[in-house]
Amino acid sequence: MAPKPPSGGKGSKSTARARKSATAGPSSSSRSKVSKRPPSKQVKTKPGVHSQTQKGAGTAKASKRKQRTYTEEELKLPTLNMITPVGVQKPRGKKKGKVFVDDKESMMTILALVNAEKEGQIESKMIKARQLEEIREARRKEMEKKKEKKQAELEEVKKDLKKGKKRRDAPQEKPADGDRQNGDGRKNGKPKKRVSFA
């Protein structure tokens, strides 16, 4: 801070003059300046006036210092947590509106991308269809095998039955005949307890 008069605003003019004269020396011009000074001294306390007084000496330095300006990014200030609406944000340096595709090369690029995607889809579809077909074929074969097996069993049973009937019929016929023949056998005192099925 600049040196201040000890008494401030209250200090009398006479005391101030006396001090100044004592320090500044005997020149008349200085005296005249000193005589004008008191109001300026009072103003000196203000920061603006103070800089004015220094301006003469440090203008070049100040201009040099002013050249260095910091951007907000350099200062690494914390960003405010603000909500920026979508419509407000405008990317700079970008074309406004739609981006058209009219040149052959970019169209070909898009087409190649689309084609590759489509081929992949078709390929996967084909693979899936083939796998499903294989599964279906395997299931069909299994079913056929089962059916054949069942049919074979049925045929066997049928054959057995046919044979069995003949076998059973043959021995059954005899006793039947015998029964008929021995229709009077019971009466003769031969109790025959026989039960036959089929």
Binding site: K98, V99, F100, V101, D102, K104, S106, M107, M108, I110, L111, L113, V114, N115, E117, K118, I122, K125, M126, A129, E133
Partner: protein, 188 residues
């Protein structure tokens, strides 16, 4: 009238790629083209409809006011309000030469198809092998005249086992629409 954006281009191409194979590149860069830049064909969007048009004609069309311009080149289809793309029957001439899967129908099946019916197995003359289900297919008469396009209901292997009355392809567009939809086909 304007060129398509990249998203629109992708949507359009993925739709076209359902029906066509790799030769779709011929649409953008035809191999037999000898002329300069004016000779190539481009896609232009006008009132949600996409047109496939020669560049020189598209440039000429810029001198016509938007309200007065009804149509130019070949209409491929239109963008729906949800951003999907719907192919029109007018695109048949563009996709038929580059078709990935084809299905030929017998003469007795032509009329039912042209009246808007799906393709039943009994009407199929022949079909492309190894065609998976739900894939785009171009439907042709036995003399190779393109009649329309649709989506397969079953894969070729499955379709062989089907009964004759079952549907093998769902119709999406047929040339009968030129008569049936005459009033609305070219209006916006």
């Amino acid at each position: 009238m304007r060129a398509l954006t990249d998203v629109e281009t992708q949507t359009l191409f993925s739709k076209l790629a359902n029906y066509t194979g790799r030769s779709l590149t011929q649409l953008i860069a035809p191999s037999d083209s000898t002329g300069g830049d004016d000779d190539r064909h481009v896609f232009r969007l006008h009132e949600s409809r996409v047109y496939y048009v020669r560049l020189s004609i598209a440039n000429l069309a810029t001198s016509i006011a938007r309200d007065n311009l009804l149509s130019l080149g070949t209409c491929i289809g239109k963008f729906t309000k949800t951003g999907k793309f719907r192919l029109h029957i007018t695109a048949l001439d563009v996709i038929a030469p580059h078709a990935r899967y084809k299905l030929w129908i017998k003469p007795n099946g032509e009329m039912p198809f042209l009246y808007g019916g799906n393709v039943v197995k009994a009407h199929v003359g022949r079909w492309s092998e190894d065609c998976p289900e739900h894939s785009g297919v171009v439907i042709l008469a036995m003399d190779d005249t393109p009649l329309g396009f649709g989506v397969t209901a079953r894969s070729t292997a499955e379709a062989r086992k089907l009964e004759p009355t079952s549907v093998v392809a769902f119709r999406q567009a047929d040339v009968g629409e030129y008569l049936r939809e005459e009033d609305t086909l070219f209006t916006t």
